[in-house]
Amino acid sequence: MRSQIIKRNIMEVLTIVLMLVFLFPFVLVVINSAKKSSEIVISPISLPTQWGQLFVNMGNVINNQNFNYWNSFFSSVLITLVSLFVITLFSSMAAWILVRNKTKWSDTIFLILVAAMIIPFQVVMLPLLSTFREISDFTGIRLLQSYKGIVFAYLGFGGSMSVFILHGFIKSIPYSLEEAARIDGCKPEQTFFHVIMPLLKPIQMTVLILNGIWIWNDFLLPSLMLGLNGKIKTLPVAVTSFVGSYVKQWDLILTAAFLAMIPIIILFLFAQKQIIQGMVEGAIK
């Protein structure tokens, strides 16, 4: 019995030490965001002499022309929220149709969507740019350096995995529910919005989280579609463009990193259980 308690204590200490090692980079970000450049050079691991410097640095970074924190923050929020909305709505609609209509067509479409999940972004990114540019020139609908273009792209890239996850879930919903609704005089679209959509909430949460974390942190797609120095920037793009213009100014770069991390950390504090669960469930499927 005694040895078991000792063992448990050792494990506990070990876990705490590991946790500190894991979180140490974040500590470094916070303490160095509150220092002047000269102070960082002297000692990057000591506590800052004046925490007030944090707000001075934040003010400098937020108002910086290359970073433009509030603009990029709201661009990121807008792009993420609108993309999530269209992905979730249209994937649910498509998945429902694909489950409930068993034809050669629906099977083929589903197969193509699933197979497309292995296509890496790199293989489509260059032709994507030229395709979008040509569509813009031809129709006059601006797709590059515009919100609608990037949301459209996220719908295309996020759609296949979302349909796949939703498809598996909808299959488990008894068809008799829909038959009952039909006998009660529901049109198919009413059945979907009033009967099926409410049932999909838990799995839609998974879809939202998986896509949300990806879109919020994504760098390559917005950097190519919006440009590193375009009018619209997402946070990761803004950080990169900021770093590019202040090569060695670590006080400002770390403050920018700090500001970029804050929103998602706050979100995580409120919804950690759902976030972890969503990301893990999505991966296992």
Partner: protein, 346 residues
């Protein structure tokens, strides 16, 4: 409402939609520059869809089928399928990102496999992926075992280990660049930054990538370990098995499926590594091989990006991307085959 009125008005809406689409297309083909022609096209299409939706007909169900599938498939076709087909096609041409003049057959593929930087990049990616997979899974499994043991505050630790995963690789990469260049060098007096040595720089990326990804894979192992039936574990402790024996003889064999999932996830993730690579080293430092100067930490994804975007060799970059896709497809198909085999055995 009178069904005839409804029918007539929906047909009118569809007709209006068709007219505006036709007008928009005439403007498009006529090389028009009017800004409204885009809205005319979209508006027309929406009118057609709306008209079909309200059209009273026996085929309402079929119309709904098409309307529900259309938005997603439309976006999917234009962002994935069409660019993919064009991408494969362009790899056989002298495409410059905008247009191509002629077919070059396999020339791009030959150039690619005979260029030092690509072969090096391929090899270094395989080295990185191998070490990364082993390290991530080792760390993740150890953390998972700790986080499923009887210690207090397990959920808190799990959340803490998971945090690095929430932040994008770009931001984390810059933070770690700072840590390698400023913090570690100040801790060890007079030492050079790891990022200036080719081998240590790769190790640096491996460390960060494991740090970032381990918490995620840990949660997958935790899910697996929680699935091990409690009575089996109790039986083994009654039989006097110590914790090491329990681990190797019971826990690990029982979560074999979890291993497959985790290893393939890390494998695909390692091959696709881009953000950290860009932000920590951006490919550097240079290494001299056979008298050539080669960027020592440029993994495949970054190599593709730089070939196309920085060096402006679009056709070559696209060719590299096609090969990249084939590599990943082989990996994914292998996983499917292995998982299917397991399922049959179970």
């Amino acid at each position: 409402m009178d069904i005839n009125i409804q029918r007539r008005s929906s047909i009118a809406i569809i007709a209006l939609g068709i007219v505006s689409v036709v007008v928009a297309m005439i403007l498009n083909f006529g090389g028009g520059q009017e800004g409204y022609r885009g809205y005319l096209l979209i508006g027309g299409l929406l009118l057609c869809m709306g008209g079909l939706y309200v059209l009273p007909t026996r085929k309402h169900r079929q119309i709904i089928n098409v309307l529900f599938l259309l938005p997603l498939l439309f976006a999917f076709a234009f962002t994935v399928i069409i660019p993919f087909v064009f991408g494969v096609f362009y790899s056989f041409t002298d495409w410059n990102g905008i247009k191509f003049d002629q077919f070059v057959g396999l020339e791009n593929y030959i150039t690619m496999f005979t260029s030092q930087d690509y072969v090096y990049s391929l090899l270094i990616t395989i080295v990185f992926a191998t070490i990364n997979i082993l390290l991530v899974n080792f760390v993740a499994l150890s953390l998972a075992l700790l986080c499923t043991s009887k210690i207090k505050g397990r959920n808190f630790y799990r959340a803490a280990f998971f945090v690095p995963n929430l932040i994008g690789g770009i931001v984390l990469g810059y933070v770690w660049q700072f840590i390698f260049n400023k913090v570690f060098t100040s801790l060890i007096e007079g030492s050079m930054s790891m990022l200036t040595d080719p081998n240590l720089a790769i190790l640096a990326i491996i460390l960060v990538s494991s740090w970032q990804y381990a918490g995620y894979i840990m949660m997958i192992y935790v899910t697996g370990l929680q699935g091990v039936p409690r009575d089996v574990l109790e039986a083994s402790s009654v039989d006097g098995a110590n914790s090491l024996v329990t681990l190797f003889k019971i826990k690990i064999p029982m979560i074999a499926n979890t291993f497959t999932v985790s290893i393939f996830l890390t494998l695909v993730n390692s091959f696709k590594q881009f953000d950290l690579n860009l932000a920590i080293t951006n490919g550097g430092p240079s290494r001299i091989l056979n008298g050539f100067s080669i960027l020592s930490t440029e993994f495949l994804a970054l190599n593709i990006y730089k070939t196309a975007i920085s060096k402006n060799q679009y056709a070559l970059g696209q060719t590299k991307a096609v090969v990249f896709f084939i590599l990943l497809a082989i990996v994914s198909l292998t996983q499917v085959v292995i998982s299917k085999k397991r399922e049959v055995e179970m």
